[in-house]
Chain length 336, copies 2
DNA sequence: TTGAAAGCGCTAACAG
DNA sequence: CTGTTAGCGCTTTCAA
């Protein structure tokens, strides 16, 4: 592929001048610029980012690490990131951690070898060792976390108010006259899941707590096991009439289990999930849920990163987004 | 970050020797190697890929373009690609075309500026202008297409036998004693959708065609419109008892529409989709479908690309994978 | 407004 | 087995 040198030769200009044209330097006369651009066009010239990166120390690459790409939430975030970054001159590279600390560190390591200028990331559920992340911060590579954030001081982050989301979901169940709530809880070591549980409890506490019974359970996604767990639970607690699941997938899982147990949703039990996954709108009944504003989260995170890339002295930002209650059929008022 | 120079200085060796260590050259004594590695460790040395790329002309980057990342099929393919590429020393960068020719070309263009060594791609449904792709081929950058392939000669590809998949699906409906089949057809300009329709027709032709009625329709995913389309269709053709949808999403859409029309699946009508999307296993009833072996497709495509990267004279390969029938509840035999 | 020249960090002949 | 040396394509002083 033709380089800057060839263009210089053909235009009779120096390397420096040609380079200036492609860097939009104001120090080039319009005439010269036009001449260069014309020849560049003819040669189908494309700047060699590698060379520019090497020389300038700026790779123009932003690395994104997400647990999983096939996920409504994370792919929504990626779309938000793309939207903001696309016209900034930066390139995005995406890696998946598949919820493994090891793969996450491997991804970060490739990012460093690729000399990324900045990183956007959501940590895996498994991540407890932040040494690699701390190394990145020490190396002054700007990094913005979204959704799942490490418990470290002074980091840029965009998160969802999970507590509020859970609160809204639970409040909605209570408003539908549920008196005995069940929370399908996520791993409490994951901070957002703990927050969701707290939101659940606080919503009940705020209400007239004495009249409301509530309990939590965690499931495995092993159909047989969970079937038994739920069956036993409902046998012992036939008064359960409202369920708040910490995620939509597990919510759908519960919905299917309930159907097999002959428990009708929403007439016998109301169910609400969390996340507004694409399929939650396709189930029967459609599942009420909490929307996480994923595109906005990606956009905000990307904006913060770009700000830091422009000016390394930008001060730390921690944004918290408010979730939105999405009411569908699974929490509809009783027919009778 | 410390470079090879610093290591050379600290070990008293030359740049060349240090470089050889990191390139696993056999021309280094174990002692020297150990010494270099030790110092590298201390300095937390990380080779600068940009510099290596510039010098060697090899970026060690593979670009992947898919229409959409939040899609069971494509993310499965990406996982397959990652599996093969992960231990090859290459890095993967992923771009989405969002089914737009323009974004697809933009992605390819960034790939070229980033000096990718090879490309894996599935073209968007909108892509009809192959000039950019042809430019890449002319530039001798190895490219392997998967699933959606441009109609060009001499290109590496891994595709699914869509005709066979549709054939299997239709045959399955016929084996369940369906006598009047409906095909929910995709855009005929997309070759794989045309193939699926042909498979549908051929399966019927192979069977005793005289006793089988069949027809095709296309939907919009606009619920109201489609509701009307289906209603009219079933009013005019109450004998329809088997539906083959060209995709799982549209299949689920149809399933929901049928429910609202009071048409029971599978007792009144049997339904089969295509793609084995993750949600097809979570619906009520669970949707029978055709699995596309996506991980295998990704693995094969990546293997072909790596082969071409190693040896540019590798001859063109075109692999066709066989789909697999997945029988679930939506095509269960009648209860009576 | 333009040009000359140095060099980013690394690789790859070539010579020893 | 190790070292010397000349760039890869581009940016960036500095000087004109």
């Amino acid at each position: 592929m033709a380089g800057i040198k060839e263009i210089a030769k053909r235009t009779g200009l120096s390397l420096a001048t040609v380079s200036r044209v492609f860097n939009n330097s104001p120090l080039v006369s319009p005439k010269t610029r036009a001449k260069v651009l014309k020849v560049a066009e003819e040669l189908d010239y494309r700047p060699n980012i590698m060379a520019a990166a090497l020389r300038s120390g700026k790779s123009k690459i932003i690395g994104v690490v997400v647990p999983e790409v096939n996920n409504y939430f994370f792919s929504g975030i990626i779309n938000g990131i793309e939207k903001i970054v696309s016209n900034s001159g930066y390139n995005i590279i995406i890696s998946q951690s598949h919820e493994s600390q090891e793969k996450e560190d491997t991804a970060l390591n490739s990012f460093l070898t690729l000399q990324v200028e900045g990183i956007l990331m959501s940590i895996s559920t498994e991540t407890t060792n932040y040494s690699f992340i701390q190394k990145i911060i020490k190396n002054k590579i700007p990094i913005v976390f979204f959704d799942r954030v490490p418990t470290l001081d002074s980091i840029n982050s965009v998160t969802l108010n999970d507590h509020l989301g859970a609160y809204l979901a639970t409040e909605h169940l209570l408003n539908q006259n549920c008196k005995h709530l069940l929370h399908i809880a996520g791993d409490p070591y994951v901070s957002i899941f703990k927050e969701r549980k707290n939101g659940f409890l606080d919503a009940i506490a705020k209400k007239d707590a004495k009249n409301i019974k509530h309990q939590s359970v965690s499931l495995t996604t092993d159909i047989k096991k969970d079937q038994k767990t739920l069956k036993d639970l409902f046998q012992k607690n036939p008064s359960i009439d409202g369920i708040f699941a910490f995620g939509d997938e597990i919510g759908l899982h519960v919905l299917n289990l309930l159907k097999e147990l002959g428990i009708d949703v929403p007439n016998m039990v109301k169910l609400i999930g969390f996340g507004n996954a694409n399929f939650s709108n396709l189930t029967q009944p459609k599942i009420s849920t909490i929307d996480q504003e994923c595109s906005e989260m990606g956009e905000l995170a990307a904006e913060i990163l770009l700000k830091n890339l422009e000016n390394p002295n930008t001060k730390i930002e921690t944004k918290v987004l408010s979730p939105r209650l999405v009411i569908r059929e699974s929490t509809k008022p009783d027919q009778n």
